[in-house]
Symmetry: C2
Subunit: 501 residues, 2 copies
């Protein structure tokens, strides 16, 4: 089969990929190494790359290349090539067209303004958080919201603006569907929280060095390849892929939270191992959409799986207690470690939250940002609305903006529509875990025997390898033979509470 | 005065600057953070940027912009604008034309091949050095040399290829001039070395943490702004500017060499403070040639000044002894510290070399690379020739390639013509120091009183601020009222030896 057009399109996509990975490298450096005063020039660099990328992704030339490859594919579909290959090629083209249609309607001036606003937003958020003063962030936040609504409107009028902004993270998401999936959670979790026998957390901590040692041991235990996966520190933990064999993870040490960096490392490892398992390395689809993650909900399901199903399991505490003891952890045995790492108590911080209250943190953010984008809520009212909702749902009230509405980085970069992915991730992780246990045995047993490879291999074969060849909800259905439901997650929570009391 | 064309050219240059600084950021990350297996994709990114940069720097459009700005300048030269401003504008145009002429003759294919070869060269050099096996590096080295000779030939036939390759580092350098300046050094230094009462070095070391603490204290002492200058570790220390307010320094800890990271930090600080003093920040010339360093010889003079004139001075040892003692250094007093940090003894390693034998390390490299480029020497013979010269000039012989011809990074990236800058830097530093002492008093007194600001301010006003408005040799003449001569450096060496014995 002639593949001239196909390869031309591939070469074009590869250049886009190179530029995209340069953008990611600048972002990585911005968060892990750049001095404070470098921010303004970095913003110029990122704006420049965003401009070129948008130009490439919405150019006449790109559109022509896609069309030519599509024609070539249709004309040759009759011949000897395998149906599987043809199907995946078709899916690639379909996804490219979808993405192209998103980009082509955007005014290049808006794209440039957005890149600048994201950079300024991030910068002002950092200062606002440091000084715990939302007002410093407000004008930039306001601008970001306006620009993103404008973006959504330029992209399509088929969906509501919030839906349009959320779809790059979760394809086809709608407000109606989300409401249906989240409603049982909002109804149930506050009651579960109320049922808890509140136990006070015992206060202890580990030195920065000890926490680093434990994170290293954790990654060794999971089988990290040091030549491919690098760890650094950043204000907000994240995971990013900078090339087909270049994976980066960050973590941070939080005073008084001895598990914080450890759980963040497990979480980011989950993201990274998903990316490592995508059909992108040494594979013909590299640079093509099928080599990408299918949705951020699935991405989060992978990180939450390692954080909550693996590291918070009883058998993991049993395996790892000796390392904690060695580093000077004052707990007496692995059961105490398990209780401590699973401590269930509503707090103000999302990243440090337990599995039970985590969902509420997300529900609050989701409701607020939908309200912001869909017009009911003024940005200036965020602090008071935030605090009110925390009081209502979690029974606690932030004493300042830093521990309240300024805690997360997402909005500072204009990332609306992302938060639900975390909670969808919890649901997907729970539903998938159940299926995994049906197929290869209880996670507790696997962890007890250190069979991480078996777990990774199952995830690879059932989730990672699919890339974007199927949508997230289709993936869940294929793997678990059921639509996504909150039931597995709620059952998991209930059984944990029972275990705990 | 109408400045329409001038501003258009400025906007073009700024975009080039953005791209160049992105390239530098990728380079920084490659050396400080990237996992090993990221190398191949990084090479693709760097090749891509090199291609765009070359295209921009040799495009018809750029040429037209320069010409239009030049015309505008000539037509308006009569009117009210100050002569100083017009002169600097003319100088900017002159430098742009010179650089453009270098670029325009290059075949884009060669540019791409060179970027790839540099990346592969660096990669294979790392492996070759680790395994101490020059043969691993040889084929890539061979390719690099061929490509760089080809490059030199494409640029001009007015100069010998080595001269053409060296001129971006040292404008107008010729083999004849270099030979004249270096000859007295080659004749004198081996004798000075012979005069030494060889004292054995006492062996001691400091922990990695202690060395890091000392480096931090050193930078604090010098007045580093932490919001603008960041320090990291890399296999080979370097300094790089990533934006008008974003300066990076690297250092490394060498086992058994307790001063290595400390001296490297002082050295890289010198580079960085030069860049910080260039007329590039908040200045109309940013992105214009006048905002750049005038030559690598001058650059090295600044780093060597801080390393050798400041940190190796008696009064610095007096000031800093307490910090070394605190970190567990076993020396008994500041005089012992001074003797130890100034220990004069021919060794195999350039970076760890004392001031006396340093020049010989450079003379050897300079002779070898001139021979390589000008055709007398086969790349495969480098290890044996290298070892022979070390035996002849320094009286010692490397026992393997890692401690011999593979020790430096420069050739691995095809940087021929750079090494002489180090030795020119020594000469310039000595000559400038003498003038500085005439004007603001003995360095020893300034350091004793911690008057670093006074030193920095003198350097800024007499060297840094000039950027590329004058050539290096013109700068030396302006500041010291004398042509560059090896005499100041040789006198400095002789007086140190006297002090020492």
């Amino acid at each position: 089969m002639a593949e001239i057009q196909w390869h031309k399109l591939g070469a074009y996509l590869k250049e886009t990929q190179i530029l995209g990975s340069i953008q990611s490298t600048l972002y990585w450096d911005q968060n892990t190494g750049m001095p404070k005063r470098g921010a303004s020039w970095r913003s110029e660099q990122l704006t420049y790359i965003a401009k070129i990328l948008h130009k490439r992704n919405s150019s006449e030339k790109f559109s022509d290349l896609i069309r030519a490859a599509q024609d070539e594919l249709l004309n040759s579909a009759e011949n000897s090539e395998s149906q599987v290959l043809i199907q995946s090629k078709k899916r690639n083209i379909e996804l490219l067209i979808k993405e192209f249609n998103r980009q082509k309607n955007l005014d290049p001036k808006l794209v440039e303004a957005l890149a600048k606003a994201k950079s300024k937003g991030y910068e002002s958020w950092q200062e606002a958080k440091r000084k715990s003063n939302f007002k410093i962030f407000l004008p930039f936040f306001d601008e970001l919201i306006k620009l993103r609504i404008e973006e959504a409107k330029q992209i399509t009028d088929k969906y509501r603006p919030w839906e349009t902004l959320a779809q790059p993270f979760e394809p086809d998401i709608t407000l109606e569907w989300l409401n249906k999936v989240f409603k049982p959670l909002k109804e149930t979790i506050p009651y579960l929280l109320g049922d808890l026998n509140e136990s006070e957390k015992t206060h202890w901590d580990l030195s920065v060095q000890s926490q680093q040692n434990l994170c290293s041991k954790l990654l060794d235990e999971f089988g990290r390849d040091e030549d491919m996966v690098v760890v650094a520190k950043s204000p907000h933990p994240f995971s990013i892929t900078l090339g087909p064999e270049d994976y980066r993870i960050t973590t941070r040490v939080v005073e008084g939270e001895p598990f914080s960096s450890f759980l963040a490392t497990a979480h980011e490892w989950g993201h990274s191992i998903y990316e490592q398992g995508l059909p992108s390395q040494s594979h013909q689809w590299f640079a093509w959409p099928l080599g990408q993650a299918t949705s951020m909900g699935v991405h989060e399901s992978q990180s939450l799986f390692w954080e909550n199903r693996i590291v918070k399991s009883k058998s993991f505490s049993k395996r790892f207690f000796k390392h904690f003891a060695y580093e000077g952890c004052p707990l007496n045995n692995h059961l105490e470690l398990w209780k401590s790492i699973n401590h269930l108590k509503a707090g103000l911080n999302r990243v440090e939250a337990d599995e039970l209250s985590y969902g509420l943190h997300i529900l609050i953010r989701t409701e607020l940002e939908i309200d912001l984008i869909e017009g009911g809520l003024e940005p200036k009212d965020i602090p008071s609305e935030w605090n009110k909702k925390y009081e209502e749902l979690l029974g606690i009230r932030p004493s300042n903006d830093a521990e309240g509405c300024l805690q997360d980085v997402h909005w500072s970069e204009g990332a609306f529509g992302y938060f639900p992915s975390y909670l969808l991730g919890h649901l997907i992780s729970a539903q998938i875990s159940s299926q995994m246990e049906n197929e290869i045995g209880l996670i507790d047993n696997l962890v007890e025997n250190g069979e991480y490879e078996k777990i990774i291999s199952w995830l690879k074969n059932n989730i990672h390898n699919y890339g974007r060849s199927v949508n997230s909800m289709e993936l869940v259905r294929n793997v678990t033979r059921e639509e996504l439901t909150p039931n597995y997650f709620l059952n998991h929570l209930k059984s944990k509470i029972k275990d705990f009391c």
